[in-house]
């Protein structure tokens, strides 16, 4: 029910929205909760476990009851707090966790079964038969209990991530936060002011108070207006600071466009911020605590502060007959505000004795409590217990206040524990819990407006001092300084269920039962009862639950201790945290210069690290990849093939000490390599295992070009930087990654020189350009580098040009190759070609192989030290029982080999302990006419000729294989030299 002339909503801007398909009218500035209350709609949700009808409890982000789903289809968002969702024209809101409807929820039968659904019920009730848990009990329980559901469809909404930097982050825009921001901003500091609410001002917008002679909300608006004009201030409304991290880092969620129907092309719904702040001020306010009494979850029962907020901020009377129940002076303030707005106050029930309330024109009961409530979907009456007995009074709304809990959560995110403050019967932040954070106002237990303003100034002054700035002198605005008089009241004894955690349906008796079953620690009680484990993380209820636990275990609250607060302070959508990480945003794509040409030729692409490389180039009648692959292998073996090998890492090494570096990082010598020559090199880790292999060319006396495998390029670069910076900073050597600067192509096959000689300005022959030569050449007016190296075992070259010429050169090379009855080849053919030669890849050097395992122990030079040499000499790494690299051919009826299969001696049972080795790579060799493979086999080099059993347990394939040398084609290597 809207009250004329009250509230900060814009009465000139009516806004309509729907709830469960029914139209509701509100005004700009309303939340879903305020607009529904204005329309007299109390029922907003069903509870998690018992499906109890629920109305709104609070007016802020701590709301446990009024969870709704907004939007439709894949863009729908579950578990939106109605208290936080601003209404806009066309907003569609749905209730959740109710079937068939919110009004008639058949799952409410759970409420009748509640005696069986208490704390730990699923640990006790559904134990037998054992297998029923997975297929019967759990699915049923999960369907019955719960919150909103995801649509299951992909969400097209845009989310963003962003970084921000400031001198001072002020968290909370109530009186303390506004005052702190103002003082810091006027002193010239870069300030970010983050407030959860759309409207800055905090409780100043919700209370009937004056600051500096103006209504509180007007004073707040004035401060915000001044801050908005300052270049050194960034105002971030609708932004919840959700986490505190090391080194002054904060996470924050900004609900950028959740309040708008039209969002603009690509505009984000939410933005997840990481804020780096030199100093911070926490001014997050306090949360009012309910009182536990029987049926205290009835729709219409809400916190007193929420009742005042709806009254003052939104001009809404939450009921026609409002009873007020409390253990502190806020009860009286609430009753006065209601009466002043013309709302009937049924009674004030104050649990304290002897409290005076002068001039009240409503009944005030002292030393009394509310002990029960009636009315299922709407509150109808409350039962009051006094010294004289119990009686009912009619009320459709109850405003309750059990006092306030400082919102100190963020001070605990770095491991700090709060301190129990007996004067206010609440936890307060422990000083110094977060380095550089100053705590001000209600979140520090200072509850009067005057106190908050003063604390804001003091916090800002402390932050400015740390920043090396001086505050300008400023008069503190005049404000209310009422004392906070409270006598603790956590729960009202009596029959029936009294709710603590509304969101997870945890009652006083559940906590008492946990204590009775010896779950006495706060952390155990929490997990046994699920107290505080719902999305609201027990913001309303944790302290009261601790109080009940403390009482049940005969300890004090301070001694009982708290559970741990962790980020996020409020729920954050994964879509916001992972913004930019959907689809292709998940990983960067690295494309070669021949990418477009490969796609145009119909090549399917395969990922190699972040790179995309062509698998094969299908032609005409070919029906499967094997036919294409076999043909491409044939190009290289018979005519000429062209393959883009630009993805190999290329590291340019220059400086007088380049040779020293290479001698240290490679097992073999590079200082003896002649200019104009290339050498194969093997690199170990310091623990003696193989890190990577590749070729390295000496382009000049002090200039080398190293290539790495595609996958290890980053690791090798980092390793070289480590050696040059951390082990030998005295060396004069400089490293540059040039992988992306050069496009490089393999030209391989008997006709490779013929192809190149049609292009090079200076033709080459075997004398001018023998095997393992390198040099500068020119083609088409472009400087190129040519290397005579071979991964395929054929007469082959790699030619490299600046990347901007890569696409043109690839087209040219492929056209020339096709004219010579060859063509492009892809990764499948490349793999077969290297398998036929027994060349290793990271399938073999997988981090567990030594130089000896791969048959390269002689590459570890005796004449010098190298990284990994000492440790490679450990006996265990020289053990002949280690797996040694061998070749495999099928010799039985089954001709298929698979990678990852185990090898067993003929007749041995195919069990793990009998395994003699395993296969690493396999492929079909058109030259051999069968599958071939590489494997590591114990003492493998002495076992050539032995027939073993290959068993792939996963794919259920068995084959007889013969162990052989790991070179299948041209074992003498004459072709590459010819």
């Amino acid at each position: 029910m809207r009250i004329a002339g009250r509230g900060l909503v814009n009465r000139d801007k009516p806004v309509s929205f729907t709830f469960d398909g029914r139209r509701y009218d509100g005004f700009a500035g309303d939340t879903v909760a305020s607009a529904m209350l204005a329309n007299g709609q109390r029922l907003m949700g069903r509870s998690f476990k018992y499906h109890r009808p629920r109305g709104v409890l609070s007016a802020g982000s701590e709301e446990p009851n009024a969870l709704v789903t907004t939007g439709v289809g894949p863009a729908s968002e579950p578990n939106v707090r109605a208290t936080m969702q601003e209404i806009y024209e066309g907003l569609a809101v749905r209730s959740q966790n109710a079937w068939p409807s919110l009004d008639l929820d058949l799952m409410a039968v759970n409420d009748l079964a509640s005696p069986f659904l208490g704390a730990g019920f699923y640990y006790k009730t559904f134990m037998w038969p054992r297998k029923f848990w997975k297929h019967v009990y759990e699915p049923v329980i999960r369907r019955a209990a719960g919150l909103g559901r995801l649509s299951g469809g992909p969400n097209a909404d845009a989310y963003e991530k962003a970084y921000a930097f400031c001198d001072l982050l002020v968290i909370g825009a109530g009186p303390a936060g506004l005052m702190a921001a103002l003082v810091a901003a006027r002193a010239g500091a870069d300030v970010i002011l983050a407030g959860e609410d759309a409207l800055m001002g905090g409780r100043l917008n919700a209370e009937n108070e004056h600051v500096d002679g103006q209504p509180g909300h007007a004073w707040a608006a004035g401060v915000v207006a001044e801050l908005a004009t300052m270049d050194n201030v960034r105002l971030m409304p609708r932004t919840t600071v959700t986490g505190v991290y090391d080194g002054g880092m904060f996470s924050a969620l900004e609900r950028v466009n959740q309040h708008r129907a039209r969002r603009g092309e690509g505009a984000p719904l939410e933005c997840f911020w990481r804020i780096a702040a030199k100093q911070s001020i926490l001014a997050a306010g306090a949360l009012e605590r309910p009182v536990a009494f029987a049926n205290n979850d009835r729709p219409g029962i809400m916190t007193a502060g929420a009742v005042r907020a709806y009254l003052t901020r939104w001009g809404v009377a939450p009921g026609k007959q409002v009873a007020v129940f409390g253990n502190n002076d806020d009860a009286h303030r609430t009753a006065r505000d209601l009466a002043a707005a013309g709302v009937h106050v049924a009674a004030v029930i104050d649990s304290r004795e002897g409290v005076s309330m002068e001039g009240a024109d409503f009944p005030v009961l002292r030393g009394a409590v509310v002990c029960n409530a009636s009315g299922r979907k709407e509150l109808e009456s409350v039962t009051i217990r006094t010294a004289g007995g119990e009686h009912k009074i009619q009320a459709d709304c109850l405003a309750m206040s059990g006092g306030w809990n400082p919102s100190l959560h963020l001070t605990c995110h770095l491991g700090g524990r709060p301190t129990w403050e007996p004067d206010i019967h609440a936890f307060v932040p422990t000083p110094g819990a977060v380095p550089g954070m100053h705590v001000a106002g209600a979140c520090n237990g200072t509850f009067s407006t005057h106190g908050c303003l003063a604390a804001g100034v003091a916090a800002a002054e402390n932050a400015l001092e740390a920043l090396g700035r001086k505050p300008e002198p400023m008069d503190l605005p005049q404000a209310d300084d009422a004392p906070y008089n409270l006598k603790p009241l956590w729960s009202v004894p009596g029959k029936g269920r009294a709710w603590l955690d509304f969101q997870n349906d945890v009652c006083v008796k559940d906590v008492q039962q946990a204590a009775a079953e010896n779950f006495r620690s706060a952390e155990h009680m929490k997990r046994y009862t699920t107290q505080g484990m719902a999305p609201d993380q027990g913001k309303n209820s944790n302290v009261a639950a601790l109080a009940v636990l403390a009482d049940a275990t005969g300890r004090g609250i301070a001694e009982t201790g708290t559970t741990t607060f962790r980020p996020p302070y409020t729920p954050v959508a994964i879509a916001a945290m992972g913004a930019g990480g959907q689809g292709k945003g998940f990983a960067p794509e690295r494309l070669t210069t021949s990418h477009a040409a490969s796609l145009a030729m119909g090549a399917p692409m395969v990922e190699a690290g972040l790179w995309y490389r062509p698998s094969y180039f299908p032609r005409g009648q070919e029906r499967n990849w094997r036919q294409s692959c076999d043909r491409e292998v044939g190009f290289v073996r018979k005519t000429v093939g062209v393959c883009d090998v630009s993805t190999l890492g290329k590291i340019d090494i220059q400086g007088p000490d380049s040779a020293k570096l290479l001698d240290l990082v490679y097992t073999n010598k590079f200082s003896t390599l002649k200019v104009g020559k290339v050498r194969y090199g093997l690199m170990l880790r310091e623990d003696g295992f193989v890190m990577d292999d590749g070729t390295c060319a000496r382009l000049g006396e002090t200039h080398y070009l190293m290539t790495t495998t595609t996958g290890a390029a980053g690791e090798v670069m980092r390793h070289l930087e480590f050696v040059t910076q951390c082990l030998h900073p005295e060396w004069q050597v400089h490293l540059t990654s040039v992988t992306e600067q050069w496009a490089q192509f393999a030209v391989a096959g008997p006709k490779s020189r013929e192809l190149l000689n049609g292009l090079l300005e200076q033709p080459i022959d075997n004398d001018s350009f023998p095997f393992m030569a390198c040099g500068s050449e020119r083609l088409g007016g472009v400087a190129a580098r040519l290397f005579r190296i071979s991964f395929s075992g054929e007469h082959a070259y790699e030619i490299t040009v600046p990347a901007r010429y890569g696409a043109a050169l690839f087209d040219l090379l492929v056209a020339r190759a096709e004219a010579l009855e060859g063509g492009a080849y892809g990764m499948e053919a490349l793999n077969v070609l290297r398998l036929e030669k027994g060349h290793i890849t990271h399938a073999e050097i997988d981090g567990r192989a030594t130089a000896g395992d791969i048959g390269m122990e002689r590459m570890v030079s005796d004449a010098k030290d190298c990284i990994g040499k000492t440790m490679s000499e450990r006996p265990g790494l020289r053990d002949p029982e280690r797996g040694q690299l061998v070749g495999l051919r099928p010799v039985g009826a089954v001709k298929q080999l698979t990678a990852g299969a185990f090898l067993f001696e003929a007749g041995a049972e195919a069990r793990r302990e009998n395994a003699q080795g395993y296969t690493t790579s396999v492929g079909f060799s058109p030259d051999i006419g069968t599958f071939i493979g590489l494997a590591f086999v114990m003492r493998g080099r002495q076992r050539h000729g032995e027939v073993m059993r290959m068993v792939d347990h996963l794919r259920e394939i068995e084959a007889e294989v013969e162990i052989c040398a790991p070179v299948f084609v041209d074992p003498e290597g004459g072709r590459a030299r010819g």
Partner: protein, 90 residues
Amino acid sequence: MRIECPICGSRDRREFYYRGDAIALARPAPDAGDDVWDAYLHLRDNPAGETRDLWQHEGGCGAWLVVTRDTVTHAVHAVELASDVKRAMA
């Protein structure tokens, strides 16, 4: 967490690659013996308090850094260029 790179300034930890204990700077001689090599490669203290680690500003200038920090408070006390530290060891 932020690290003050001596070359680039204060940067988010996501720009850095973490390697481990700064003992890696003190590579033993080839003939130092098994125990010394074992200690260099494998044996690590796990202090509650000050620790010195090697990080590389891989997403920035590429400099290897020795970061002195506290494993209890997570405070970063000092960041030095590893090359400077290594030169000083000589």
